[in-house]
Symmetry: C3
Subunit: 467 residues, 3 copies
Amino acid sequence: MRNRYFSSDPAQNSAAVALYDSVANLPLICPHGHVDPRMFADPEYSFGSPVDLLIIPDHYIFRMLYSQGIALDELGIPPLSAAAALRDHREIWRTVCANWHLFRATPTGIWLRDELADVFGIQLKLNSRNADAIYDAIEDRLSHAEFRPRALFERFNIEALATTDAATDALEHHQAIRDSGWGGRVIPTFRPDAVVNIDSAGWRANIDLLAGIAGVDVHNYAAYIRALEERRAFFKSMGATATDHAALTAYTESLTAADAGAIFGRALKGEATAKDAARFRGHMLIEMARMSSEDGLVMQMHVGSWRNHNPQVFARYGPDMGADIPIRSEFTKNLKGLLDRFGNQPDLTLVLFNLDETTYSRELAPLAGHYPILRLGPPWWFFDSWLGMTRFLDDVVETAGIYNLAGFNDDTRAYPSIPTRHDVWRRVCADWLAGQLLREFIDEEDAFEMMRALAYDLAKQTYRLDD
Amino acid sequence: MRNRYFSSDPAQNSAAVALYDSVANLPLICPHGHVDPRMFADPEYSFGSPVDLLIIPDHYIFRMLYSQGIALDELGIPPLSAAAALRDHREIWRTVCANWHLFRATPTGIWLRDELADVFGIQLKLNSRNADAIYDAIEDRLSHAEFRPRALFERFNIEALATTDAATDALEHHQAIRDSGWGGRVIPTFRPDAVVNIDSAGWRANIDLLAGIAGVDVHNYAAYIRALEERRAFFKSMGATATDHAALTAYTESLTAADAGAIFGRALKGEATAKDAARFRGHMLIEMARMSSEDGLVMQMHVGSWRNHNPQVFARYGPDMGADIPIRSEFTKNLKGLLDRFGNQPDLTLVLFNLDETTYSRELAPLAGHYPILRLGPPWWFFDSWLGMTRFLDDVVETAGIYNLAGFNDDTRAYPSIPTRHDVWRRVCADWLAGQLLREFIDEEDAFEMMRALAYDLAKQTYRLDD
Amino acid sequence: MRNRYFSSDPAQNSAAVALYDSVANLPLICPHGHVDPRMFADPEYSFGSPVDLLIIPDHYIFRMLYSQGIALDELGIPPLSAAAALRDHREIWRTVCANWHLFRATPTGIWLRDELADVFGIQLKLNSRNADAIYDAIEDRLSHAEFRPRALFERFNIEALATTDAATDALEHHQAIRDSGWGGRVIPTFRPDAVVNIDSAGWRANIDLLAGIAGVDVHNYAAYIRALEERRAFFKSMGATATDHAALTAYTESLTAADAGAIFGRALKGEATAKDAARFRGHMLIEMARMSSEDGLVMQMHVGSWRNHNPQVFARYGPDMGADIPIRSEFTKNLKGLLDRFGNQPDLTLVLFNLDETTYSRELAPLAGHYPILRLGPPWWFFDSWLGMTRFLDDVVETAGIYNLAGFNDDTRAYPSIPTRHDVWRRVCADWLAGQLLREFIDEEDAFEMMRALAYDLAKQTYRLDD
């Protein structure tokens, strides 16, 4: 299916095929995602059942089933209070297959179909009739050595894969990977949200963890900054090239050391207000930019997700249950605090992601088309889809060009879906460039160079993976 | 014109024709609209002149003429103060035809053209040259029995048609329809805005009407709730399956009974503030969800229209004069009050409509793709158009799928335009699905099942019209 | 390249060619832009070097190079503090050409390519290899008399060109043009921002300039209004048909004369607050509408640009350095003050521009489709692009039709790019109308009349250039 997903216009279709073919064998650069490093630490790591692999960890899938009235318990999601979740995985799989029509025309539907075909060699359509046969086939494949994570890493032609790790993580799995002598490049990413968001549950306990692992007595703001710098240095020594920061808004503000210290002091005593938390987070984003300007770690911001929007689901199952809902975002005003201080530094890179497509053409492209530090991340989450990516290219390229983009990242914990996700991105780009080429906005030389940049070079360069 | 409006790409065009043909004979489900039930109560009901039928009640038409400097008086719109409006309907029709170029490439232009052709059998283009001939032809048709509302109902193949009725409406026309023994299914919809919006003109008088018709002395909040429940039960007994709620914003908030009672008391005394009104409306939306969870009526919310934006037009002609202008909408925060209480109930249905397309992909699709109670209504008002519908499908389906949609409703008071409006929706869906099919996102089985769902099943199921 | 940029669908392509050809020889109407009138005052005016002509004045170009880490100094932009900027223009040109890939798929890239081909007769692709040859060729062309501004004006077939001029401008270049007997219609536009924005740097000094040039002692608000009326009359006597107003938001509010006078008094004493400034600006927009309703000047508003967002660039180079970033806009509420007073006057015209595409379908089209005074300006700035214009037509025409649009204006200071910019607009319209025609939304008569309106008539009529 070389021309899968391409325009039905014959000229555009064949131009897209040529562009796609030119990058089809390039390795995958995976600079941001949530794959569990443990997979690679243990050479004999097993994925478990088909449901363990494909359903239980994938909130894209079970949120949609839930929206149609299927209880999460029936899908094997373990309630926090329960000793164990539903264990009849074949029955869960049948429920999923019986409702697979819900995923028609969704990226989730396309990914799983392509993943089954391309990774598992299973061409059957997901439905009640085929449920058992598909289950058996996946189970069979998973029992073979070529379906171990490391084997797939090589088969997937992954050049580098970054995980996302708490600032307090000891990175023992990353250490184990290094120690094992295996050649795959799996690197950590420094994500300090849990020690930065002073209003998050467990912040105080995380500060203690931070103190312990950094070997710094975090009794005040200066010590806190030292501890964070310490951890960044450790992550960098373990191969990290980037940090990641999640925030409800992009608000940034430079506090004086005295103000930052006072807020931090209140937080230690459990007396910080909501406003303190917002200002401190905004201040710490600038502090992280300052540290990045010193240690060279690429900075990422993921903005605009209202986490755990459904209190009943959160109470029963915990976080990351498909109930994170986007809110409107704003960058022109909110990011000014950070840009005023670091926006003009060409040696610093800040990659922006968000879930409000209205910002693409109005704010993000004009900002990235001016400020040297900015790059735009690919469409995130709900927008990691054919039409979402197409809208992104339509909305940003005319103003920012493609060289202010960060290429693609799959941002997934669903490891075997990685090749499919990159494939969709590459196909979107090929289709889009073919349209540009046929309308003569660009010529062939442009198109092929842009294709390669979007498929490979931009991600590698942006995340400094080219050393 | 089997392939009217479809893509000029030959492959997509013929796929769209096949999909369209597969639903062309399915009945029309009209679960939300503003047709006057009086039309069906009187078997001899006459539409009046072509201008009475097509121009005077249609603010889509006269707002556009007004925008180009044509006074509403010249179009037969009666000023509130005037004994009578302009009565030379042929002259009005000539004015409309002479300016019909204003409607080029608009849905209004397309609807009227198709309606004249498909319902009235008139193929002439609307312009000054043809004005009189078209007027004569419409007048002639309207004089025949097959152009009475009931005859058209059958010709249009309408399976069910819901009107929209005030909570205080006695539903005497609906009663007359039932009593007449005519078989057409015309049902009411419970719309309590005029007794819920304590800041609206006439609220106090409407409460008296409510008390009278419900037979409840509405002297306090508890009695008010009882009266509303009483009315809902009556509407349900008359065939209603749904309620409808218009609101400037989607704000919802659960008040304590004490707070709700205090605000209601202030409102009775004419002492409620603007903030009281906003909070009370937000609270009553949740109360209506509570009642729906008990009586099973499907709940609809139409959000984001600034009504009567033009004070001069409002003063001279009253409401609904084409001067309602959309404002920005927000659901993630605003709807949380209601969702926190009722979002997880699969037996409850809330259909959302709004006029801010930015919410489609950012808020509505993610919400509908998670919460069991939510369904997305079709594009409303200005967006009930070829491109508006296409953008809607583009923006929501990848995240919410199609099974979290409510299918189509025509939302019109222009009765003879109903088949045309459904036809445009079905054609948009056929064209869109054909595109998905040719790009191999879906296969033929998917496409035909989705086509039927979008054209018929989803509306019927969502509005519980399948008993 | 008659079919440049058109759809690759053969039927749509040839329909677009026919539509385009029908307007290809119509003159250019340029009712809003920033060309320097001095160019036409001096028959021997020279553009300087290729870099003086094409790079240094064009913030679209150097902002993109800057975003990729190229210092503005290296591009010949003079720092405020420097005696002189980098003068080796050939070296600057080489830098630009070496980085021209950054402009792939951007309107800037397309404009310069087309301008070189169509105006300068240079077909070479911009890159390092061709840099010197292109530089030499441009330099050669500029040395010939047919590349003087007046000669190009005739070759470009410009029927009228409006400049944008401060309220305090003596218009001596416009006077010189008139005195010279040259037949080109170059007219001023009245832009009073610098004397209206009481919080802008230099406002007080500008009031003195205003007083001096108007011959009115501007000691209070009444005198200020008189001085502005005086200046408007002068601009009108010099051929102006329009005014222009830039504002961060569209906020309008009618102040009492007493309140306006009090704020003006505080401003004169340097004591006005930020809130005073916002209210005064909102009030003055209504005052300007009042004056327009008397003198017939068409009013333009450009809303939503955060000027000089980058303080470091502003401090070093001053304003207009490619660091203006859009913000979210709102019209339904903000414009109500003005519309309440003047919205229904068909003899008054207000043309709206902004940089937030979400307002197109949600607010601007519904407003323009109702209020007689409103017209929608073409996509502005970042959205003056193929996809930006296409989205604009997609988003507004279904609701507002095309007869509530203001046609096209190039809004450029890059004089030799004018034909190219109009050409892109005409091609977008031809392509878009061809799509509408093939889908049978419109017929051939409609399509050709709409084509002419969009290419020529609407701009001429809206800006009252038809006398």
